[in-house]
C-alpha cells in the first residue's frame, strides 16, 4: 500500500510540477510558480525534501537500520539514480537530434550544452558517463547522485556523532564560499551548475530537520517563533526581488560569495530565504489539506513516486520546448503542453503504484 498523504510527499509533488513548468522557459504558466516571488526555487525544495526522506532509510533512533543494510540501500539508490540520469540524458540527446533533422535546424544540436555530444563525441561521451558533462536542465539528478553517494558517510557520522553532522556540512559549505571551491565540468570548460559542495548543506539540513533530536528537535519545539521570524524575511526579500532592489554585487566585501545572490553556490542570502520559506510552507500544509484534499492527494502521489515522475518530467519539458518552438507559444499551446504534461506525470505516478501493488499481490 502506498504511504498516506503527508506534507513531505505533497511538497515534493509540488516541486516536481514546478520544475516541469519552469523548465519550459517563457511558457505562460512559468509566471505562476513561486520562483517569481522567491529567491529560492523548486530545486532547493527538491533537494531539501530528498534529505528529509533519508530518514526513512536511516530508520528511527530507537530502531536504527543495520549499518551494512543502510550502506547497501543508499549506494543502491545512488546507482538507480545514476542509471536514470544516463537514460534521460540519452533520450534528450536523441530528441535534440531528431528535432534538428525534422525541423531542419542545426541549432538544436547546440542547445542545452549538447554541442559537445555531436561535435566532440569521443570526449563528451566520457564526460556524460562521468557526470562531468551535463545537459542544460538535466543537471539536478547528477547533484542528487553525488548527494546519495555521500549519504552513507552522512548517515554514519549521524549515527556515531550526530552533533557533528551539521557543523561538518556547514564547514564544507563555508569553505566553498570563501575559497570559491567548485566542481569543474569536462570536456566543456566550466563548473557544475549546482555546486555539490554547497548544495550538500541543503540536503543535510533536510535530513537534520527531519530528526526528532538535535537541530530538528529544536526547530520543532520553536517552530512558532521561527515562523514569526520567517515571515518578514520572506516578505522583505520577495519585495526586494520583485522591484529589483538588490545591492550592487561588485560593491560587497570579500569574500564576495558570502554576500552575493547565486544559485550555483546557493549563497547565504538564498539559503536563509529558503529556510524561512520552508518554515512558512510547513504551516500552510494543514490548511491546504482542509481546503483541497484532492489536490493534496494528487500531488502526494507524484511526490511518492518522485524518481519516475522527475525523469519523465525532464524529458517532457524538453519536448515542450521543442514543440513550443515548432508551433509557437501562446496561451493555447502552453495550456495544452502544461496540461498534457501534468496528466502524463500523473499517469506515470499511478502506473508506478499500480505496478507496485501488482508486485506485492503476486
Amino acid at each position: 500500500m502506498p504511504r498516506q498523504v503527508n506534507a513531505v510527499d505533497f511538497w515534493r509533488g509540488y516541486a516536481l510540477i514546478a520544475i516541469f513548468i519552469n523548465h519550459i522557459p517563457q511558457n505562460f504558466y512559468e509566471r505562476f510558480t513561486h520562483k517569481n516571488v522567491s529567491l529560492s526555487d523548486s530545486a532547493e525544495l527538491f533537494v531539501f525534501l530528498a534529505g528529509w526522506s533519508l530518514r526513512h532509510v536511516v530508520g528511527r533512533p530507537e530502531d536504527p537500520r543495520p549499518t551494512a543494510d543502510l550502506l547497501y540501500r543508499l549506494f543502491g539508490r545512488a546507482l538507480t539514480l545514476y542509471v536514470a540520469q544516463m537514460a534521460i540524458a540519452l533520450l534528450a540527446v536523441a530528441m535534440l537530434a531528431a528535432a534538428a533533422l525534422v525541423l531542419v535546424n542545426p541549432l538544436f544540436l547546440e542547445w542545452h550544452n549538447a554541442a559537445a555530444i555531436f561535435y566532440d563525441p569521443v570526449r563528451a561521451h566520457i564526460g556524460l558517463v562521468l557526470l562531468s558533462h551535463q545537459l542544460g536542465y538535466f543537471n539536478i539528478l547528477p547533484l542528487y547522485v553525488v548527494l546519495l553517494l555521500i549519504a552513507p558517510f552522512m548517515a554514519i557520522v549521524h549515527r556515531w556523532a550526530p552533533e557533528l553532522l551539521l557543523p561538518v556540512s556547514f564547514s564544507i559549505y563555508l569553505a566553498s564560499l570563501v575559497f570559491g571551491l567548485t566542481v569543474p565540468t569536462w570536456p566543456v570548460e566550466g563548473q557544475w551548475f549546482f555546486n555539490p559542495l554547497c548544495w550538500q548543506l541543503i540536503f543535510v539540513l533536510g535530513f537534520s530537520m527531519s530528526r526528532e533530536r538535535g537541530p530538528g528537535g529544536w526547530v520543532k519545539r520553536n517552530i512558532l517563533w521561527l515562523r514569526l521570524a520567517s515571515a518578514p524575511i520572506v516578505v522583505f526579500l520577495g519585495v526586494m526581488g520583485w522591484f529589483n532592489l538588490w545591492w550592487d554585487p561588485t560593491k560587497v566585501p570579500e569574500p564576495r560569495l558570502l554576500f552575493l545572490i547565486g544559485k550555483t553556490f546557493v549563497t547565504p542570502v538564498r539559503l536563509i530565504q529558503f529556510m524561512a520559506l520552508i518554515a512558512l510552507m510547513s504551516a500552510a500544509y494543514p490548511y491546504i489539506v482542509r481546503v483541497s484534499p484532492g489536490l493534496v492527494s494528487f500531488l502526494s502521489r507524484l511526490g511518492r513516486n518522485s524518481l519516475p515522475v522527475f525523469c519523465v518530467g525532464s524529458v517532457l519539458s524538453l519536448a515542450g520546448q521543442i514543440v513550443r518552438f515548432a508551433y509557437g507559444g501562446g496561451l493555447i499551446v502552453d495550456t495544452l503542453l502544461v496540461g498534457s504534461g501534468i496528466a502524463v506525470l500523473s499517469l506515470v505516478a499511478w502506473l508506478a503504484e499500480w505496478r507496485s501493488r501488482k508486485d506485492q499481490a503476486s
Partner: protein
Amino acid sequence: MRTAILLAMALACPSAIESALAQQPPPSAPPAGSLQRLCSEGAEIGFGPAQLPNAARALRERKRLRVLALGSTPLNVRDQTQGHYALVEKVIENSVKGVDVDIIDRGVSGEIARDGAERMRTEVALLEPDVVFWQVGVADALALTPADEFKETLSRTVRWLKAHQVDVVLIGLRYQRSLAANEGFQRIRKVIRDVVREQSILRIGHYESIEALDRIRRQQGEPTSEMDLTDAGSNCLADFLSRALAVGLFAKPRGEKEKLPGGPPPFPGAPAAPSAPDKGPRQ
C-alpha cells in the same frame, strides 16, 4: 596573421598601425566565398568612438586581459582539442609577447538572456573581468522570448556592464538557412543589432558572414548543406573574436561600413564598421 600583426604593432607603437597597414602590399586573396576569406573579413563589427576602453587600459597597465565568456559555449569543430576561447587566447598571446589573456568560460548553454543577465552580475563581481563575451539570442529565439523583453534585458545589462567599467562584445545569432524567414529569429537578431547601435558596442556578426558564404556558394552552383554552414560558423568564430578584440582594442574607427564579398552590406542601418581590416592584407 593580420590580427597578429595588428596586435604586435599596436602594443609596440599604436601610432604605427595605420602606416604599417598602408605600406604592406596586399597578398593574393583567397577566392570570394571561401571560408578562409570569410573568416578573415566577414565579421560585421559595429563600434563607437571608444571600442574596448577598459580592455585596452588593462592591457596597457597590467599587460593582462581577463575575459568573461557567457552564453552558449561555442565549440571549435576544426580543432577538437581546444575550444574557441582557448584559440583566441593563444592567438593574442602568440601575437604580443608578455601579454596574458585569460578567458574564463561561465557559459550555460540554453540559458535565456533573462537568466544569463542575472548570473552575469554575480560572475562579474567574482571574476572582475575587463571584457565580457556574451553569446546571446539563440536560446531566446528558441524559447520564443518576446522581442521587447529581450531588448529590455539586453540593454539594461549592457548599461550595467558599462557602468561597472566592463567592456562587452556581443556574439549574435548564427545563420541558419531554415531560419532566414523565421520572424521570431529575425526579431531577436534585429534587437541585438539595435542594442549594439544604441549602446555603441562591438558585435560579432558571423550571421552575415555565413549568410554570404551560403549565397556565394549557391551562386557558384555549389550549395552548402545546413550542417556545413553550422561548421563554418563554428570554425570562423575564433577568428572573428580575435579580430574583434584586435580591432576594438587598437584600430581607429573611420566610420565606414565593412562590405561583405559578393553581396550587399550586412543590413540596412548597421553601425559603423572598423577601418583597419579594409586596409590590411588579407590572410
